[in-house]
């Protein structure tokens, strides 16, 4: 595997975020998918049995939902900012709003503020209806 910087540089040059979906092993493990629709980044995580946290409901593990939100925030930062290194998560706060069922989860991150060294990102995840998010998060990321 080439270095992360090379993969990110290549994905941005090609304008193809899908190339970042295999940039690091944990993205492959989660099965992250990325695409652009009208220049907007769309990220999703198809359901997989190995991601289940509560087999009775069933529901995706809260840790996985949190990991997905954090991943989408990171990928969005890389995609939107003129940076090639992976930003470092300083902190992330996750609100669990509904249980995430056995289906594809989508997420969208918004860069709320970009400072010289720190970026603040808000991100929401949903399944069927973007107006009924399953989880939301906000975090600070070191980008400088």
């Amino acid at each position: 595997m080439s270095s992360l910087v090379e993969i990110i540089r290549h994905a941005k040059a090609e304008g193809d975020p899908e190339l970042m979906a295999t940039a690091y092993p944990y993205a492959v493990y989660l099965g992250l998918q990325m695409s652009t629709i009208e220049d907007e980044l769309h990220c999703s995580m198809p359901f997989d049995e190995k991601l289940v946290g509560n087999p009775l409901l069933p529901a995706i593990h809260g840790g996985v939902v949190g990991a997905f939100l954090e991943s989408v925030a990171l990928v969005t930062l890389i995609w939107e900012l003129d940076i090639e290194q992976l930003p470092k998560t300083i902190d992330i706060s996750i609100d669990y709003l509904r249980s995430a069922g056995p289906k594809t989860t989508w997420a969208k991150a918004v860069l709320t503020k970009r400072g010289r060294r720190v970026a603040n990102v808000r991100v929401e995840a949903w399944q069927d209806n973007p107006l009924k998010p399953v989880a939301a998060a906000h975090g600070n990321f070191l980008t400088g």
């Binding site: 009775l56 409901l57 996985v64 990991a67 997905f68 991943s71 300083i90 992330i92 706060s93 609100d95």
Partner: protein, 159 residues
């Protein structure tokens, strides 16, 4: 009184962890457990790496480890057998994990109210005083699912 009174908490925590498919799949195991607290361990795995250049695990894996240990701490402390739902979870990343080392997480409850359980947790390699991540989280009490009441009473009858 806790329905888990007199139970073997190490066995109880191991059952709790193994009942969660994703946690079992990650190979997470119990190190120590007592009512309201536990230490669990995630073995280092290359497929969980977040940065291939450094080999450091992705922060999201730490979220799963911490959510799990906090869930057990809360569930074992409330002691009514009813399921809990994570309301929110905040993690501060203090330093990167070291590649190739197992990751441990310790969680403990510090307040239980009628509706909410408050839990703190840290993730570390070998020294809890040198944490990789610090976490606070809250759980909602009495959500769907009462399966563990039965498993706990079974454990009591065994002990």
């Amino acid at each position: 009184m806790s329905v888990f009174e007199g139970a073997d908490f190490f066995a109880f925590a191991t059952r709790f962890v193994e009942a969660i498919p994703h946690v079992k799949e990650l190979g997470i195991s119990v190190v120590t457990a007592a009512p309201g607290t536990a230490v669990i361990k995630l073995p280092y795995r290359e497929d969980l790496i977040g940065n291939p250049d450094t080999g450091v695990l992705h922060g999201g894996v730490i979220t799963t480890l911490i959510d799990t240990v906090c869930g057990f701490a809360a569930f074992s402390d409330v002691g009514d057998g009813f399921a809990l739902a994570t309301l929110d979870l905040r993690i501060d990343y203090l330093k990167p994990a070291t590649p190739k080392l197992d990751l441990l997480a310790e969680g403990h409850t510090y307040k239980i109210t009628k509706n909410i359980v408050f839990v703190r947790a840290t993730a570390y390699h070998s020294d809890p005083q040198d944490p990789i991540a610090n976490c606070v989280c809250t759980f909602m009490r009495g959500t769907k699912g009462v399966e563990f009441v039965n498993s706990a009473s079974k454990m009591n009858s065994q002990s």
